[in-house]
Structure formats: structure tokens, C-alpha cells
Symmetry: none
Subunit: 199 residues, 4 copies
Amino acid sequence: MDKLARTNDPAGTRRRIVDAAYLAFAGHGYNATGLQELRIAASVSSGAFSHHFATKKDLGLAVIRDRVRTAVESTWIMPVMSAPTAVVGIEQVFETIIFDLEKSGSISGCPVNNMALELSSQDAEFRQQLDQIFLLWRDAISDKLKADLAAGRSRVSDPGAMATFVVATYSGAMAMAKASQNVQPLRTCLRIMMDVIRN
Amino acid sequence: MDKLARTNDPAGTRRRIVDAAYLAFAGHGYNATGLQELRIAASVSSGAFSHHFATKKDLGLAVIRDRVRTAVESTWIMPVMSAPTAVVGIEQVFETIIFDLEKSGSISGCPVNNMALELSSQDAEFRQQLDQIFLLWRDAISDKLKADLAAGRSRVSDPGAMATFVVATYSGAMAMAKASQNVQPLRTCLRIMMDVIRN
Amino acid sequence: MDKLARTNDPAGTRRRIVDAAYLAFAGHGYNATGLQELRIAASVSSGAFSHHFATKKDLGLAVIRDRVRTAVESTWIMPVMSAPTAVVGIEQVFETIIFDLEKSGSISGCPVNNMALELSSQDAEFRQQLDQIFLLWRDAISDKLKADLAAGRSRVSDPGAMATFVVATYSGAMAMAKASQNVQPLRTCLRIMMDVIRN
Amino acid sequence: MDKLARTNDPAGTRRRIVDAAYLAFAGHGYNATGLQELRIAASVSSGAFSHHFATKKDLGLAVIRDRVRTAVESTWIMPVMSAPTAVVGIEQVFETIIFDLEKSGSISGCPVNNMALELSSQDAEFRQQLDQIFLLWRDAISDKLKADLAAGRSRVSDPGAMATFVVATYSGAMAMAKASQNVQPLRTCLRIMMDVIRN
DNA sequence: ACAGGCGGGACTTCCCGTTTAT
DNA sequence: ATAAACGGGAAGTCCCGCCTGT
């Protein structure tokens, strides 16, 4: 009896779906999220839903492209690139994230990491998309380190390796933080990592 | 009249179920695994299944306690403890894991990490159990580092923090390895980590 | 390739489900009825079923509202209201019911009573809905008795109490008739009841 | 791990099962009660359970014979028989029941009536057993009325019919009381019934 | 007599994807 | 593009009864 009003707004509908899906997938996981849950959260009928995303996998890929990637770009890539040096950038990113987590009270983890671990062994296409994001992330840090090295602002000899290390340590620290619901692993790893890069 | 033979073997039945579940949960995830799949893999009737595990969650907790924990103990804790020094132990563990992964051809990730990321935000009990395993893991490394420090075999000033860092970096490197289906991140992170601990 | 023909007929589908459920719930009980049984009886897929009724309880409530209530209205309330006096109406209702039961051969009892006894202690919402029907039923008789009293066609001094008594005696007589598979209790109670009201 | 101690006590075991079953069957119904629930309530293993009752139906019949029948005997038949007259006995029974219900706070209905309505249309054997109890009940009242008539203590001309009427009205009033969770229907019907019998 | 493991299946609920219809 | 009905099947849970073993 509570019929939905009809509102022709393709872009808005699609955005509402992807928003709801990003929250749910990053929050409690892809497989633990039902489409009905998303339809309700996005206030979208099953017909409209299917029109925009033929399958759940299509939606998953769209979420990775439209939300997970941009999340990495806005929280990691852009801050690092616009920082004076890679080290400073990385430190600021960590501190921003730690600050936000402490404010929010609950730690739901890093979206890329969450989705990568859940979906990599489930579907090759998911795995590739997620791997690409890891690469983007790593390359951004690597490029910054290279620039620092060229400008004499850094003594890091292998920027590519160091970037991989930074991403890995952050991801693992966030995993531990999520399991313990405590930011301590992030703080600890940040400190040691800073020593490594500054050496 | 073609009744199925039956053999009262509670311990064996339970073990078959937990074995199948560990493989599946660590392999393609808890939520992506159906109980039907496990029943078939373990050759167990649904009645027998329910007798041993009332709910899927019960099974999940049993898998964590009986398999994930022991997997960490046998692949990490025992090798590190029985190595001459923590550094040597950690290096050997990494190399063993890298060797095994290259032999097997596919990288399904670290069971603790996989399950922690999937289940921590799904259920508090899961989260606590997984967090405990992280602690066990970290403490084993920390204890070894302390012993090394006391014996003058190490210059690591904060063993607890260093242990957290090792676990985090390993976990993150394994996540990247899983996403890229390549052991390179593990190698890279091992090298940098060794420099950090030895320096 | 042998896809099932489909015809969007929401009202019809819903009606078929409720019809089948009413027959089954009133016939052999709510808890003794499986949804599979209803799906087959109504020729409805489980998907269509879920679309109309999310849970069995939802269906139960719909059955009470859409069928049990109207059954009471058509077999009791309307006949009594349109009869010259309450006494005549009640007598006619009883006799119609007795006649129908004898024709059908088996006595499955009064739907309201059947469902009330089974479901009142199972769920508060069921209990309230069923209680409301008892009230409607009782009030219809009460109103008729009041009108008779005002018009001097009855000497019943407390119409409300008398209506309760009529409903109770009918319900109890029907319970006994169901247990004995014999209409005798209905006849007996009708006779005594008539003496009481006519006094 | 919480193994049950072994206690050879056949009579006690059986009684515990039947007790738990009577409470559950009369309380929330035969079909709504699982055997596992009863096993837990009676602290009985599945093996011991099966030893005493091969099927659920066997248990149901035992409950009717060993508990429902005796419940009717102790709450209705004996009090009426030992009362000075049928009228007084019936009045006392009603008042005792109303008093107990008000004390307990919730109305779960008359066990005979509850089980008769649920099981009569489900199984012929159940129906017969329940019908027999109705007969016993009715006959006890009828006999008392006959004795009163013979002794000049009553003007009831058809004791058998009157007994049927009393049982029916009580059953129906209790059904309404259960649905409304209010003893008022019992009070109301008692008053009118008393007028009828005394007239 | 009792403890518990087990077989096989039914239960309600929910899933994802498709189709009709406006 | 959007709303809603629908198909078909799988999900996890629980059912009852039997069997083995002590």
C-alpha cells in the first residue's frame, strides 16, 4: 500500500544505489549484503535497480570504480601528492585517518583491503580491479618518493619497494585495528615506518 | 532397503566438518560458503551436521579455535620460537611461505587476516576470537624479541611495537599478494622489514 | 526453453494464496500447515509468494483480516442483523450451520475459535486480531438485542452479557461437535439458549 | 562437554517428559512444540526419550491420558461430585478457576479444549481420546444433576442436555477469555448459566 | 534404561534475476 | 526510466525417528 512515487532521475537513482552499496560492501561485506537491503536503503524499486545494474557483480564493479578508487584517491593519493614530501604526506594521511577513526568510534577497515580480501578469490574481474587500485596507490607514493629523491629531499633508494611497503604496512595495521577496534596498531606502525623512510 | 551404512564416530565426523569448513572459509570466505557445500565435502548428513554445530556461527567459531589458531601457531609461532633469533625466525617463516605459495600457484591469503576482515564487522564474538589470535601471534614475536634483547642478540628497543609492525606488514603484504596473485609484495616487505629489525 | 507462462495478476495471486491458506488454517491449523503445501494449492511460485507475504505470520494476519472476519460477518453478523429479532436470527444461524454440517459430513469447527485457541498464546498480534473479531461478533448480537429491547420485542435485560453468552455457548458447542464429529451439542445448546433468551 | 549424568529412573524420566509435554502442549500447542524443546525441558536424552515414547503421537496420547484427563477430573469432576449440588459445584469450579487465572495473570485456556480444537482434525485417535474426556466431563455433571433431581434438589428436566450445555458454555467462555486475556466472559457466562440451571 | 550420534528430509525465509506494464 | 509481480532455487535451521553403544 505504500507505493513508491515515480521519479525519473536516472543519474540520481544510480548514485543512490552506488552510495548505498559502497557503504554496505565496505561496511559489512559484499556477500553479506543482499540486493533487497540496498534497494530499501536507496529507495529504489527492483525494476529501476535492474535497469541500472543487470547483476550484483556489475554493481560491485561499479562500486569499486566509482567509490573505492575515488576513496583511495581522496584519502591517500591526493594528500600525498600535494604534501611537501612523501614522508610528510604519509604521516599526515595516517594522522587524519587515526583522528577520524577515534572520532567515529568504530573501525570498519580500509575499503580496498576489505573488498580485496573478500573478492579476490571469488572472481577474477574483481581481483583485477582491486589490484589496479593497489597499483595506483602504490605508484602515487612511489612517484612522490622518486620526486623527493631527485630533489634531494629523500634518501630512499628504492621508491617502488618503499611504496609497496607503506601500502602493505598500512593495510595490515588497519586490519589489526579493525580486529581489535583500536587505533594503536596504526600509531605503532606509523612510528616505525617513519623511522624507516627517514632512516 | 539401501540404507546408508553408519558408523558412530563423533570425533571423526566433527573433524571432517571443521576441516572442510576451514578450507572453504579461508579459501573463498565464510559468507560465500554454503553449509550444503560443506556437508557434501565432509560427507555428512544434515542431521549429523546439526548435531555437532547448531548454527553456522558455531561452526565458524570452532574453525577459528581449532584451525585458524593452530595454523598461526604452526606456521608462525612455533618456527619463530624455535629459531635462534626472532629475525632469523621471521625471515625463515617468510621464505617458507613464499616458497609454498610459488609451488602452489595460487595465493589465497592469510587465514586470520581473511577471516578477520570479513567477520570482524559482522559479529562481535568473531571479532574477539580473531583479535585474540592476532594477540597470540604478536606476543610470540614480542617475547622472542625480548629474549633476544636480554641476551644481547638484538638492538630492538620496543619489542611489542616491533612485533605489531611485523604482523601488520606481513598481513598487508599478503593482502597485496593475494590481490595481485604475486609474491613480490611479500619479498619486498621482507627485505625492508629485515633492515628495520637488524639496523 | 520451457519457461513458465506468466501473467501479472497481483490481486488474483494474492487471493489464491489467501484462499488456500484460509482453508488450510481453518481446516487443519496454522502450525500444521506448511507454506509449500499452500504454494502448491495456490499454484504460486515461492518468489511470488514472498512478494505478497514476507512471512507466514503476515499471511496469517491477512487470512484473519480478509477471510476469518468476513466469514463471521457473512455467517453470523449479517444474518442476525437482517433477521426480524435477535432470537430468530440466532436460531436461523444455528440451523443453517447444523444443516450445512450434516450435509458436508465432517465438522472442522468454527474458524475464529480454531485459530483463536491455536494462535492466541503464540503471538500477541494474532491474539488481538482474533479478539477483535470476537468483539465484532458479540457487539453485532448485542446491538440487535438492544434494538429488540427498545422496540419491546425482547425482555433481555443485559444485551452485552447475553451476546457474550451466545458467542461462548456456540463456540463451545462447536468445539464439542468437532471433537465428537456430531452436531448434537449444537442442537442441545441451541435449545437451551433459546429458552434463556426467550425466558 | 556438558555430558548428562546417567540416572536410571524409568518412572521419573517418563514423568518428567510427560510433565514438560503437558505444559507445552496445553500452553502453546502440540504442533508448535518440538521434541527437542521437551527433551531440554525434561533434561532427557534423545535415547531415553525414544525409549519411553516411540513417536510424538505416542507422547501426545500419553499426555491426554495421563494429564489432560486427570486435569479435568481434579478441576471439574471431583469438585462437582463432592459438592452439595451440581449448581453449587459448578459455581465453585468457575470461581476457583477465575480466581486462579486472576492470580496467574495470563490465560492459556482449557487444556481439553485447546488440544481438541488443534488435534481433532489432525488425527482420529487424538479426536477419540479427547472426545472421551468431554464425555466423562459431561457425564459427571449429568450424573450429579440426575442425583439432584431424584433428591428434589433440582428442577432441571434434562440433565444430559444441561451437562452438555454447561461444558460447552464453559469451553466457549474460556476460549473468549483466552483471546481477550480477560476473565470477564467466564464471569458473565457463569451468571447466566446459574440463572438457567436454578430457574 | 539411558546417552548421544546420525539419517534424511521439511521448514520458513531470502536470494538474484527476469518480465510485465506504465 | 521506473514500479511491481514473478520464477526458481538455495540459504540456514530444525524436525522426527532410528541406531549404536554403554
